[in-house]
């Protein structure tokens, strides 16, 4: 039984996947949908055309950035569920800057992105400071900051930034459309030789770059090492002379910066203007993605792709005449979190593995004897 650990790990993972799919199938059956067809739409339909695949990549972009951002605080012993608020504050600052700047494209674009980063970082630093200074649980304060940011944003959309075209009308409040020169261009605009169906925006390259930078920062620099040390054992880190609370605030700032960037990229690439509800729940989904990606920036990339896939699939259910509401994506995400955290602990528990190994050896031994 040399490879028992490998077999055990694979078995647990396989079981948890089956469990997730099983529960999902049960819920789909209750909703009166054809389970197999639904699964086909969720997992395979996005691959059928290049246009669908581009849609997946567009969803994957903010998910990757938020997911990478969520890894940093987790590794530093703090949880950031304020992604939504940080996205909103980031993109708000970016929009304000973009609407008022006269800079040429090559300068304006980086400055707008930087504004998003700044807005998110400042909003993320607040709960970090509250935790470090007053011991306020970040799980609660970040949620409160989400609501505050959402209200502030809707005020800004309704009053100072309101598009005169919808003022006084019945339409949802939104800002003026940004200049075309401030948009993130589509991939087929950059490379005209590519197929017309490939229409995802270039934000994905920013996302991949961020993942790489955060990986190098967390694993190849002294600061990153100290942050991870503070996260894996607070007491040991403190004994080693690491100021745990300082790195906590830094981790929250980095996470907020990523969320702000994600919001900005979403605006520049997809919406091209400030709208209500333009964060699309990515602030929460990013946490799921980070967990699914093993809390590693490079693992986040495939995880984000997977979640973008099922997210796109779920939103395409209605088009494919399957009577399942798109809320199904929340159900799936929630299930995945619950199953992953449980499976992780099962894998981390040496006693359970020991017991399983003894049972298996006993079982095999009996067979050999017989």
């Amino acid at each position: 039984m040399k490879h028992f650990k490998l077999i055990y790990t694979a078995g647990v993972i396989l079981l948890s996947v089956l469990l997730t799919l099983g529960i999902a199938a049960l819920i789909l059956a209750v909703l009166g949908a054809d389970v197999l067809k639904t699964f086909w739409v969720i997992f395979c339909y996005p691959f059928t055309t290049l246009k669908n695949l581009s849609g997946v990549i567009n969803i994957m972009t903010p998910l990757t950035i938020v997911g990478v951002g969520s890894c940093v605080p987790y590794r530093s012993g703090i949880v950031n569920i304020g992604g939504e608020g940080q996205m909103v504050m980031g993109l708000l600052l970016a929009i304000v800057f973009a609407l008022n700047t006269e800079l040429p494209r090559t300068l304006a674009l980086p400055c707008i992105l930087l504004c998003g980063v700044l807005g998110g970082a400042c909003w993320g630093a607040l709960p970090g400071l509250l935790k470090a200074r007053f011991g306020v649980s970040e799980l609660l304060s970040t949620v409160m900051f989400n609501y505050i940011a959402a209200q502030f944003y809707s005020y800004c959309l309704r009053v100072p930034l309101l598009d005169p075209a919808v003022a006084g009308g019945s339409g949802d409040p939104q800002t003026v459309k940004l200049e075309t020169s401030e948009w993130l261009s589509r991939i087929n605009e950059v490379f005209p030789s590519l197929d017309k169906g490939l229409r995802f925006h270039t934000g994905i390259f920013i996302a991949l770059l961020i993942a790489l930078i955060v990986y190098l920062f967390m694993w190849k620099t002294p600061v990153g090492f100290k942050m991870r040390a503070a996260g894996s054992s607070e007491r040991a880190a403190r004994y080693g002379g690491i100021s745990v609370s300082r790195y906590m605030v830094l981790a929250m700032m980095i996470s907020g910066a990523c969320c702000g960037l994600a919001g900005t990229v979403e605006i520049l690439g997809v919406h091209h203007r400030g709208l209500g509800n333009c964060t699309g729940g990515y602030g929460f989904s990013g946490i799921v993605v980070a967990l699914f990606g093993g809390l590693h920036p490079l693992g986040v990339i495939p995880a984000a792709f997977f979640f973008a896939l099922i997210s796109y699939g779920c939103s395409a259910l209605q088009i494919n005449k399957i009577p399942v509401p798109s809320n199904m994506i929340d159900v799936l995400q929630g299930l995945v979190i619950l199953v992953i955290v449980a499976a992780k602990l099962i894998l981390a528990n040496p006693y359970l593995m020991d017991r399983a190994q003894r049972r298996l050896t006993a079982l095999l031994g009996r067979k050999e004897a017989a």
């Binding site: 011991g135 929340d330 619950l338």
Partner: protein, 316 residues
């Protein structure tokens, strides 16, 4: 001015009941050492199930009353069931409770939304449970309208405050629950089954959260929407910290928060529309953060082992 205050309180007290029920339940959860951040999801499911039964069965008069009651009981049961599901993840497997709570929240809200669209669909209301007017007392000036013509569930919520207090501090079960939250190892060595006690507390607390959701859909709004719960589950969790894990403190928190919300509604009703209402909506959330700052300083009030999984086989 008096009119304004009366309006403000008549709006605020019914608003506080959902928060009160949910955070009383969460108090019991946290006293046992389990941090249930998924309260929001449980409330969503409770709201949906509580409304589904009256919607499907209907009925009138006396029958409708029983049907509504059945809806409330079903929502409590569904809440307890979700609590036990959460318990398997965080008690049996010892998963990090904050993250698992987010999972439960997504799962519950998503499921409630999906099932709602399938079984009810569209903005359809129910007759629900109406406010009752207590004879004679409701005719009193000012307080009559504020205190004696509320929904029965409002009275139930406020009656649960002494009930939960008694349960936690005057019964042996309550002592066991608090022992599991403060020092599970000692409780274990005294022969208390820590896991079982935590499961019980979680089932009780989540049943309360389910009821809180049902109160919103059956008694308060009489309709279910995706945004019906609107973050009340998270607020309920914060109020437990606010109230320092005591039912009375939680009641104070729920009232304060709801009155801050009612202020916004009252201000709008009185036509001060020039002031951007978003800042008034923000007010209660800011208030919670400010209060948490002050509560955060005192470290020795809460259950010492809150959020820490207990495994009797592991060394500490």
């Amino acid at each position: 001015m008096l009119d304004f205050i009366v309006l403000f309180l008549t709006v605020g007290i019914p608003l506080s009941s959902a928060l009160l029920l949910a955070s009383l339940g969460e108090t019991v959860n946290q006293r046992s050492g389990v941090f249930n951040l998924g309260c929001e999801g449980v409330m969503s499911m409770g709201a949906f199930v509580g409304m589904l039964i009256p919607f499907m069965v209907g009925g009138a008069g006396k029958v409708a009353w029983y049907v509504n009651l059945a809806g409330l009981i079903a929502s409590a049961l569904v809440g307890a069931l979700l609590g036990l599901l959460f318990g398997v993840v965080v008690i049996k497997f010892g998963a990090p409770q904050g993250i698992a709570g987010i999972g439960l929240q997504l799962f519950g809200t998503g499921l409630a939304g999906s099932l709602y669209r399938h079984f009810i669909g569209g903005a359809q209301g129910v007759a629900g449970i109406d406010a009752i007017r207590i004879p004679f007392l409701c005719d009193l000036p000012i307080v009559g309208k504020m205190l004696f013509s509320c929904n029965p569930m409002v009275y139930f919520a406020f009656l649960m405050v002494p009930a939960v207090h008694y349960l936690l501090f005057k019964t042996s079960w309550g002592l066991r629950v608090r022992a599991c939250g403060t020092m599970p190892r000692a409780a274990d060595s005294m022969g208390i089954d820590v896991s079982r006690t935590r499961y019980q507390a979680l089932a009780f607390g989540s049943a309360m959260a389910g009821l809180a959701g049902a109160y919103l859909s059956v008694c308060y709004a009489k309709i279910f929407t995706d945004t019906l719960i609107g973050g009340r589950g998270f607020i309920a969790v914060a109020l437990v910290y606010f109230g320092r894990w005591s039912p009375l403190g939680v009641m104070g928190g729920a009232l304060l928060f709801s009155l801050a919300q009612a202020l916004q509604l009252a201000v709008q009703a009185y036509g001060f529309t020039t002031f951007p209402y978003e800042f008034l909506v923000m007010l209660p959330y800011v208030l919670v953060i400010v209060v948490l700052i002050f509560v955060g300083k005192s470290k020795h009030v809460g259950p010492a082992m809150l959020g820490k999984p207990f495994n009797r086989e592991m060394r500490t």
